[in-house]
Symmetry: C2
Subunit: 319 residues, 2 copies
Amino acid sequence: MKALVHDEGLALVELAPPTCEAGEALIAVRLAGVCATDLEVLRGYRDYRGVMGHEMVGEVVECPDDPTWVGRRVAPEINVTCGHCHACRHGCANMCERRSVMGIFGRPGCFAELVALPIANLHVVPDSVDDLAAVFVEPLAAAYRISTQIDVAGLQSVAVLGDGKLGLLIAMAMAERGAPVVLYGRHERKLLLAEGAGIATRRSERGKPRSCDLVVEATGSASGLKDALELVRPRGTLVLKSTFQGAVNLNTNRIVVDEITVLGSRCGPFDVALDALARAAVDPRPLIDATYPLADGVAAIEHARSKGTLKVLLDMRAL
Amino acid sequence: MKALVHDEGLALVELAPPTCEAGEALIAVRLAGVCATDLEVLRGYRDYRGVMGHEMVGEVVECPDDPTWVGRRVAPEINVTCGHCHACRHGCANMCERRSVMGIFGRPGCFAELVALPIANLHVVPDSVDDLAAVFVEPLAAAYRISTQIDVAGLQSVAVLGDGKLGLLIAMAMAERGAPVVLYGRHERKLLLAEGAGIATRRSERGKPRSCDLVVEATGSASGLKDALELVRPRGTLVLKSTFQGAVNLNTNRIVVDEITVLGSRCGPFDVALDALARAAVDPRPLIDATYPLADGVAAIEHARSKGTLKVLLDMRAL
């Protein structure tokens, strides 16, 4: 099968198709999404080498342990967990100490014709959710993660900083959960897109200092993080959603003196994201800037890397 | 009156005694404590100039608006608040936007014979609490602040990093609240002191990575902060208690990927601290390394600054 592999540089290569281990299903990938984390991986994050990609929708083509899965359209969770460690036994399976993560750490990704994953990772995509929406389940779930950590509907003022893919999805998810969200950004096209989804916007990454109950940092930049910390009110909460390479300077004095809570937020609930898509309560499809056949995967990544680009998809059925 | 003033350098100077504004009491200071924040102020923190000091016990000598206060022994809160701003009206008076802070910001401190403060700031010290214990009410309240932010008794493993004054008081306060505290430090004398108070210790500032539910950073050093972040478990909490000058490098990736909560913690409940002292549930007096008359205040600060020193007191009655 063809796959987009990061090894000595990024290249489309021919690989032997994966085989199902016990409890696994083989999935024919339909669409996959390029994420900022993929670009970080290509810059050295986690020293990953192998098939890239972790956002996908596909169809089960083989499942020896439970053939009823064959033919089902699925969006798979990206963390493959052991089920036995302390984290797994205490409801934090995403923090599993022995986890592998599709396309990021210890497990091949989905920028390929086929991928093998545990049945336990699969979520069936309802018929009402088309592939173009379903490919967003993983990042949309990550966006919904915040509202499982904090009661966002009870807040007076919520700022999401950064109008990139992540910021837009977070703003959509939080607005859908009843939070009084304002999306802060500097890109007219993206802010108009947010406004089209009914979200209030502000054409800046700065706001009235110390004014927001909750600020979500989704710029992915150190300066955005600084702005975010300035924007949160005393005893407010700053959610960190972007992963940065290396350590970042943070004004810990502000955190102490104003008793700020800084909260890390990563993967989220696939069921919540799928439910929102099925109800058409959130529509991420306007974020799609381009779809490339897998054969043009290297060009797709280049496009995703170019400034101002929102979501780039890879279509595996259009080899 | 004599007062220890930070202006062009630190000096004992003769000042006109303060007068009571409306709603204020004039307090004859008995004992005052030198805090790490005083040393930070002397290094430029908040650009404060004026009479130093914020930890004290004293006796009310004048109170035109309510003479019943005269003769009472008091420990005063250090934040003088407006009572009208958003923070004051929403139960966060310590975050008052127009606050002044005794000896730190906009208001003379207590390294002086007399200090004037609002009646609303005064807490009566019970007879069972002697002056040497009462002078610790402010820092002990700050130590208790953590257990008002987090249910510490429900945790499995709590580490306090740093065996200085702050770390010792925090360990005492958290142990008293039922938390399974281990105090991490490198100073034999201080760790023995903690052990004498029934607290488990570890002769290191490092521990098993990712093992603790709650880690309190009380070293005041950037390396201690790094160690603290490594020690906290996925989805655990890191409490920042030390104020650092300037921005500090922090591995925000760890915060995001492991969904760590970083929580700033500052001033605390005086009533809780006074109650613990009155019950003799906590005894901070073994932390006293030296007591100087106010006349030797400059030497007292020098002593407080010297490596390994715990609490240095100023005695205003022994001029």
